[in-house]
């Protein structure tokens, strides 16, 4: 057999084997990819019933000033974007990030709860801080 074909078969077999085992390993309960919505998009889709109940999603919005209630590692607050807002309960799994502040941009990972409160398991926040921006406001 041609060495090139032999080599290709070897390569394909290795990749195939690793892929087979790695695909089987994806059961840690964490999702590997998630849809991301802007808050208003999410609310629209949710109202229209386009999002299955209990589906994990990423939602982006800004933390509404004056709505933050911190209790231990958990937080209750509202996020807002384009005149829409949504109450959120964060279960504090990873603690409250340093950049969690009124007005900060937040990316929430979680799902809609039954009472209309969004249950977030993870929060990534990017503060509307001036540190990273070099432009005159």
């Amino acid at each position: 057999m041609n060495i090139k074909i032999q080599f290709s078969i070897l390569f394909a077999a290795l990749i195939g084997a690793v892929y087979f085992f790695s695909a089987g390993d994806e059961q840690s309960g964490q999702l590997s990819a998630m849809p991301r919505y802007q808050l208003h998009e999410y609310l629209e889709k949710n109202d229209a019933g386009d999002i299955a109940s209990g589906q994990m999603v990423l939602v982006m919005g800004n933390i509404k000033p004056g709505t933050i209630k911190l209790k231990g590692e958990t937080a209750e607050f509202e996020i807002t974007l384009n005149n829409k807002s949504m109450p959120v309960y964060y279960d504090g799994q990873d603690g409250i990030p340093d950049t969690f502040k009124p007005g900060a941009q937040a990316l929430l990972e979680g799902k809609m709860g039954k009472s209309g409160i969004f249950k977030a398991h993870k929060i990534q926040t990017k503060c509307a801080s001036k540190y990273s921006q070099d432009t005159v406001q």
Binding site: I3, V18, Q30, M60, L70, K71, Y131
Partner: protein, 780 residues
């Protein structure tokens, strides 16, 4: 003034780089050596112009020139002088200038090192470098977010100061080292393309390009490792790698270059893979540009990338054009890149190298696809809203990228065992027998290692739940055994060849005389040590522990009062200290200590360790400058610390004190000097045990009476800056009576091996880079 000079210098750099392009093109066309000499001076002068610009910015930072917008945003009068200078890379535009400067510096170095070369060989690589420099300075001169010299009509009242997250030793050296790694790739790339254009692809060319790429690879890798160390010690989330887009951006070129520095060996030894190597260098270089673009263009919403930059569009256009043009050149010149030999056997070193290369490439492309999922779906979504924006999560990388990483690691273990051209089946069998058996044994022995960290679990559970970790340990064993076997074989061969030599001398010389090969194997050992450290992640654990604490009563104050400088208690009231030192007296501060009546803190038992929360200290910190000058520190310059003092016990033994804190850095409005809010930063405490790290981060503090978290920072500011006694009392009354503090705790097994392996990897790579041993005469 300095700012104006800086702007002029950048414009001059753009002008001279443009001239360099024209002159080097003319030098190629006319074969004129005098023009080449002129381009040399041109490339040097670009370096001097950018050095001047850099000095202007450093000067403005050092003098805290509050008319310069960059200084206002990233420094302040109270910033430590050393950190004032490091704010050079704290912001997007400053780091862009630094980047541009480094590129010019490496170009000048390259020109200088080749000053004795025949001039006719050089103009092609000069042309490539001049184009890069001109583009960088074009962006620097014409895009205001790449321009750190914008000034305000009036100086601001106060600077915002350095981003508190950057106040860490690794953050001081991590960016420059990483940048050196990134930027210096333009040199091997220019050599590769210059050689290709000139049709000069001899052994000398190969050697030069190999040395430069190894240099860049070393700096890029070191920079990545320092970033990991910083993340671990400063960010307080217990880990060191999160597959963040910024991390991925630096990891992709590293993978391409790793492939390159291996496959270049095949070209050297066997004259094969020539086209492939040029393509790899092309990919490496363009991925360093792409990494810059990903980090700076704001296409990703990640929390630690720079904010949106306007130069994102021209930058990506440049990358696409550059990648396209150079690819066309490679295709056009493919006839000079014809292989001199063919693959002869599947059990040959060539096959090993090639497989390894392909898997590295595959990993880099997988990461690229994952990083680009978000921007690409976002772009499609803007045209067709029915397509959802998708983000790849960490779990995806762990599920798919990590297994392929293990495959590369496995091939890395096998590679050194194979011979060039062909290995007879018997020879192949003999070579891999011991390492492979040891590796398999390692997989099944790994659960015994893990049993130390997870007592109480059965062997089957440990093997079944941590298969990835066990396989990693097995491959580590394979790499160790294989490398030792090869080192021993090399030593035996030397002994046989030079029987009169002393064993010690042979032991050193067999490595030195064939440094690249054997020290290369030692580099593999460094990586294996790191992988063993990574495998600890399989049994990492974390939890939250909560502790009860009380507001100080008189008896507690008497006990704890002495522990904190500047705090004296009298009659149940907290009064500032009097020391007789004007600076301290003017900066007298109130601190508050929470603890327990008995002096022994609340304790929590977890995973064999007992953590005792001894005290919670709330205290302000004033800049040293004000203490020295005896000036009362205004509120906007004071930081507030919430500090948790924990004591770690194991059984009856006290292991040490762990102090973790959160600091609130004031954020000010530079115009009015009024306080706008504050930016907290976390500081974990890490107790080093031999096999694991006990990692603690002070978390939230809950007021048990009000059942919500008090704003302790604000209360402390009110206490320290109360205008009168009434306000002071009101503020003190706001202190919660009893609190529940949360400590987030991680047990990170084997993590020290990651750092040890990284140091080992770096030092052994340095050994290969330094021009000693092997053949003495070398050219760069």
């Amino acid at each position: 003034m300095l700012a104006t000079l800086g702007v002029l210098a950048i414009i001059a750099s753009f002008a001279v780089s443009t001239i360099n392009i024209v002159l080097s093109a003319a030098a190629i066309r006319r074969r004129d050596d005098r023009l080449v000499q002129t381009v040399r001076y041109g490339l040097y002068s670009n370096f001097f112009f950018l050095a001047a610009a850099l000095i202007c910015l450093l000067g403005a930072l050092y003098r805290t020139d509050l008319q310069v917008f960059y200084v206002v945003n990233h420094s302040s009068a109270t910033t430590d002088p050393f950190y004032k200078l490091t704010s050079l890379w704290a912001g997007s535009s400053g780091s862009y200038l630094f980047w541009n400067f480094l590129n010019a510096a490496f170009t000048a170095l390259y020109v200088f090192m080749n000053r004795h070369r025949p001039k006719g060989e050089m103009p092609y690589s000069f042309l490539v470098l001049a184009i890069i420099a001109a583009f960088f300075s074009f962006i620097g001169a014409f895009f205001h977010d790449a321009q750190p010299f914008r000034t305000l009509s009036e100086p601001m009242a106060i600077g915002r100061g350095l981003n508190p997250l950057l106040l860490h030793w690794a953050m001081i050296i991590h960016p420059p080292i990483l940048y050196v790694g990134y930027v210096s790739f333009s040199i091997p790339f220019a050599i590769a393309m210059g050689g290709l254009l000139a049709g000069r692809l001899d052994a000398d060319w190969l050697k030069t390009i190999r040395r430069w790429s190894l240099f860049s690879w070393f700096f890029l890798g070191t920079g990545i490792c320092l970033g990991m160390k910083w993340a671990y010690e400063e960010l307080g989330w217990g880990g060191y790698w999160a597959w963040d887009p910024v991390e991925n951006a630096s990891f992709m070129p590293w993978l391409f270059c790793t492939a390159f520095i291996h496959s270049i060996i095949v070209q050297e030894r066997r004259g094969m893979l020539k086209l492939w190597n040029v393509v790899l260098m092309h990919l490496t270089y363009h991925f360093t540009l792409l990494g810059t673009w990903i980090t700076r263009s704001g296409i990703l919403d990640g929390p630690h990338s720079f904010a949106n930059a306007e130069f994102g569009i021209p930058f990506i256009i440049f990358i696409i054009i550059s990648a396209g043009v150079y690819l066309a050149i490679i295709v056009d010149r493919r006839h000079v890149l014809v292989s001199e030999a063919k693959l002869e056997s599947l059990t040959s070193k060539e096959t090993g190298f090639l497989l390894n290369n392909l898997v590295l490439l595959l990993i880099a492309l997988m990461i690229f696809a994952a990083v680009m999922t978000e921007p690409v779906t976002k772009w499609i979504n803007s045209y067709d809203p029915s397509v959802e924006v998708i983000i790849r999560k960490q779990a995806w990388y762990n599920s798919y990228v990590v297994p392929f990483g293990l495959l590369v690691f496995f091939l890395m273990g096998l590679g050194p065992l194979l011979s060039w051209r062909r290995t007879t089946l018997k020879g192949f069998y003999n070579s891999i027998l011991w390492p492979l058996s040891a590796g398999v044994a390692g997989v099944f022995a790994a659960p015994f290692l893990y049993a130390y960290f997870k007592p109480g679990l059965s062997y089957g559970q440990l093997l079944g739940d941590n298969t990835g970790g066990c396989i990693t340990v097995g491959i580590v064993v394979l790499v160790f055994t294989g490398t030792l076997q090869e080192l021993y074989r090399g030593y035996r061969a030397r002994r046989t060849g030079f029987p009169q030599e002393s064993p010690w001398r042979s032991g050193v010389l067999f490595i030195v005389r064939n440094k690249r090969r054997y020290v290369g194997y030692i580099v593999h050992i460094g990586l294996a040590i790191m992988f063993l450290g990574f495998s600890g992640r399989a049994v990492e654990e974390n939890t939250k522990l909560t502790f009860f604490m009380q507001k100080p009563t008189l008896s507690m104050q008497a006990r704890s009062g002495k522990d904190i400088s500047g705090l004296v208690f009298a009659d149940g009231n907290v009064v500032p200290e009097k020391t007789g030192d004007a600076g301290r007296e003017n900066n007298a501060r109130f601190a508050v200590v929470y603890g327990s009546e008995t002096g022994v803190g609340d304790k929590q038992y977890w995973r064999g360790y007992t953590l005792e929360a001894r005290r919670l200290v709330l205290e302000p910190e004033f800049p040293q400058r004000n203490l020295n000058a005896g000036i009362r520190t205004p509120n906007v310059e004071a930081r507030i610390h919430l500090r948790g003092d924990f004591i770690l016990h194991k059984g009856d033994e006290t292991l040490g004190v762990l102090t973790s804190w959160r600091t609130f850095h004031p954020q000010v409005d530079p115009g009015s000097a009024a306080m706008q809010g504050s930016q907290p930063s976390s500081h974990p405490a890490i107790h080093n045990l031999w096999l694991e790290d006990y990692y603690v981060q002070l978390g939230s503090i809950l007021d048990l009476n009000k059942d919500k978290n008090p704003d302790l920072e604000r209360i402390m500011r009110n206490i320290n800056y109360a205008p009168n006694e009434e306000a002071w009392r009101a503020a003190v009354d706001q202190l919660p009576e009893s609190v529940e503090i949360t400590a987030r705790v991680w047990l990170n097994p084997l993590i020290k091996l990651v750092w040890i392996g990284a140091v080992f990897l770096g030092l052994s790579t340095l050994l290969i880079i330094i021009p000693a041993g092997e053949k003495k005469n070398f050219t760069i």
